[in-house]
């Protein structure tokens, strides 16, 4: 039981961490609350399902196709629908909601609402201290960590990362220093959607694929972002595992827990916010006026 909780929370936590970091990147740089973020994750999952089931390829091929495709889709939709109205905060908000709805409906049309699944990359399992650990769970966890590490390298060591970080800190000054702010925003959207796509790719063998699968992660992702502190990657990382653990513990320990898992995790978030309104690792910014 305890080991199950640990495994589930590690995997859910990594998913939430990947999603939350992508979400806060896009928010930090472009000030877009991207409700459609997890919808792209859902699209990636369906891409992989399509490649494996209809074309009969190995899931890894599906992943290689899905991530670039979703990134492209994200950048194109951003360019068409969101970029022209970026100055209107409220419009962007419902723009992304409508985008998420549109993606969900397109997937519903193509694939219908049936529950689908994708075969794992590697079959089989091994046992540690009497607990079954599927290879797929290990792969998912490791892949998530690798991606998080790569993202950190990108943000900290490259010129693009520097541009992203500085734009997130102060858009106007970054612009004055000669960074093409709208292009940085476009690249950030690309990276962020790629992260969403990648999350979909690594988690897809472990979950059920259906057009509404983006709603629960969306809520958890937002909770993680708030709990960890907006714009703090370390915060998102820690908060993701905290909430992932809370969810898993509720599901396994409490009867009727499956209904309450969201409630308990979100209540934890609210309790923390009562004590620290800026989140665990958030920094209190001078109020933007």
């Amino acid at each position: 039981m305890f080991a199950d909780i640990i495994i589930t929370s590690l995997i859910n936590g990594s998913t939430y961490a990947l999603l939350a970091i992508g979400f806060s990147l896009i928010f930090g740089v472009a000030r877009i609350v991207n409700i459609a973020h997890t919808a792209f994750y859902m699209v990636a999952a369906f891409c992989i399902f399509f490649v494996t089931h209809h074309w009969g390829f190995h899931p890894i091929v599906g992943m290689l196709i899905a991530v670039p495709l979703v990134t492209l889709l994200g950048m194109v939709t951003y360019g068409i629908f969101i970029a022209p109205i970026r100055e209107h905060e409220a419009a962007v908000l419902i723009g992304t909601i409508a985008l998420a709805m549109a993606l969900q409906e397109v997937m519903l049309l193509i694939f219908t609402g049936n529950y689908r699944s994708v075969p794992p990359l590697v079959q089989g399992y091994f046992t540690i201290i009497g607990v079954k650990v599927f290879y797929q769970q290990l792969i998912t966890f490791v892949a998530a960590l690798v991606i998080l590490g790569a993202l950190r390298l990108l943000l900290m060591k490259t010129r693009l990362g520097l541009a992203i970080r500085s734009t997130a800190q102060d858009r106007e000054v970054a612009n004055l220093m000669g960074m093409n702010e709208s292009r940085v925003a476009l690249y950030t959207v690309g990276i962020s959607i790629a992260l969403a796509g990648f999350t979909g790719a690594v988690i897809v063998p472990l979950t059920i694929v259906e057009p509404f699968m983006w709603l629960h992660p969306l809520i958890m992702m937002m909770a993680v972002v708030v709990l960890g502190g907006l714009g703090s990657i370390k915060g998102s990382f820690v908060a993701a595992y905290i909430l992932g653990f809370a969810e898993a513990a509720v599901v396994f320990l409490i009867p009727m827990g499956a209904f309450l898992k969201g409630s308990v995790a979100l209540s934890i978030m609210i309790l923390v916010l009562l004590i620290r309104p800026e989140g665990l690792f958030g920094i209190v910014f001078e109020e933007e006026r």
């Binding site: 100055e87 969306l218 937002m222 969201g262 409630s263 916010l273």
Partner: protein, 346 residues
């Protein structure tokens, strides 16, 4: 007799000088008259049903605007108030046999309480933090609803609630009149001193605080007021549908209200109301292509926003009316000189 004649003359003068000078006011007047006259033309239960639901959601959308549009406290969990109102009215009606005319306001008071409860922690947060946190509350409540099915009916919800009234036409008149009254009250609130303070909080909270206004109190007030109106909408919905289910708390409900309000144009009250009266029947119209319904809806929203990012109705108003550069009074766009101060409009 003279007195009556005086008031009648005054009334017509008011209509002539205040309403007929602006196309937007004429449209609003015509719209209300048409709403009231509609049952004379048709008593098709289906179209009446759609309009009843539209009126209920119009209250709901306007209440979101009162909170999030005016004070800028982005609420992504507005379904909480709707759901609490619906469940409150339903439980009171079912267990204590309180008739609808009392259970709906009492349910709305429960929603006010919910507004207080979530308002107090949320006031420490601002901007995006607030938006993302408020999203959590209806989901927490939904978890509780599912966890205690003995009280709340779980997934099926509470059914067997009293009807508002028996006949469909009477239901229609009740909801439409309640909608008109509540929306007018909301509009009056936003027009009063309180509304000006709300608006000022949206623009610059620090400046409002510096002017010696306790912004926390006003924000809490906004939460409560908005909760009350949304709760009224929820109670009406429960009594009209005769069921209060978890669908009233869903995330899509919270998103829907944001879509309506922003689509019409925020910080107006009339914007969201008009938007519901456009979008909700539109969604019903798309029922002819059931599988493309939501897709068409989403595409319509995306495309309209692309061209009118401040909201459809605000955009239309700016096209047919223009503001006098000197006295800031609105005029028909075709006028050359302002109707009040005679300044040139260009």
């Amino acid at each position: 007799m003279d007195l009556i004649r005086y008031y009648i003359r005054k009334f017509f003068k008011l209509i002539k000088t205040e309403v007929f000078v602006l196309p937007s006011r004429m449209i609003v007047l015509l719209f209300f008259l048409m709403l009231l006259a509609l049952p004379l033309i048709t008593d098709d239960p289906y179209s009446l049903r759609i309009l009843i639901l539209t009126s209920i959601f119009a209250i709901f959308a306007a209440s979101w605007d009162l909170l999030s549009g005016f004070t800028g406290q982005m609420n992504f969990g507005h379904a909480l108030f709707f759901g609490v109102g619906a469940y409150g009215a339903a439980l009171l009606n079912l267990h204590f046999h309180i008739p609808p005319w009392a259970s709906i306001p009492l349910g709305a008071l429960a929603a006010v309480l919910a507004g207080l409860i979530i308002g107090i922690p949320c006031l420490r947060l601002r901007g995006t933090y607030l938006a993302l946190t408020t999203l959590a509350f209806p989901i927490i409540l939904m978890g509780i609803v599912f966890a205690i099915p003995e009280v709340t009916g779980g997934e099926l919800g509470i059914s067997g609630i009293d009807r508002l009234v028996r006949s469909r036409v009477a239901q229609y008149y009740i909801t439409v009149i309640v909608m008109v009254v509540l929306v007018t009250v909301m509009w009056k609130i936003t027009d009063s001193n309180i509304g000006i303070i709300f608006h000022a909080i949206r623009e610059d909270e620090v400046a409002v605080r510096a002017s010696g206004i306790n912004t926390t109190r006003y924000k809490l007030m906004a939460f409560c007021l908005s909760g009350f109106f949304a709760g009224m909408a929820g109670g009406l919905y429960a009594h009209f549908m005769r069921i209060a289910g978890p669908s009233t708390l869903e995330v899509s409900m919270s998103f829907q209200v944001v879509i309506w309000a922003v689509f019409g144009g925020v910080v107006t009250i009339w914007g969201p109301v008009g938007a519901v009266f456009i979008l909700f029947p539109l969604l019903e119209f798309f029922r002819f292509w059931p599988e493309y319904r939501m897709l068409l809806f989403a595409i319509v929203i995306l495309l309209i926003l692309l061209f009118m990012p401040q909201g459809l109705l605000v955009w239309i108003r700016d096209k047919i009316e223009s503001e006098c550069p000197r006295c800031k009074i609105r005029n028909v766009a075709t006028r050359k000189n302002c109707r009040i101060c005679d300044a040139s409009m260009h």
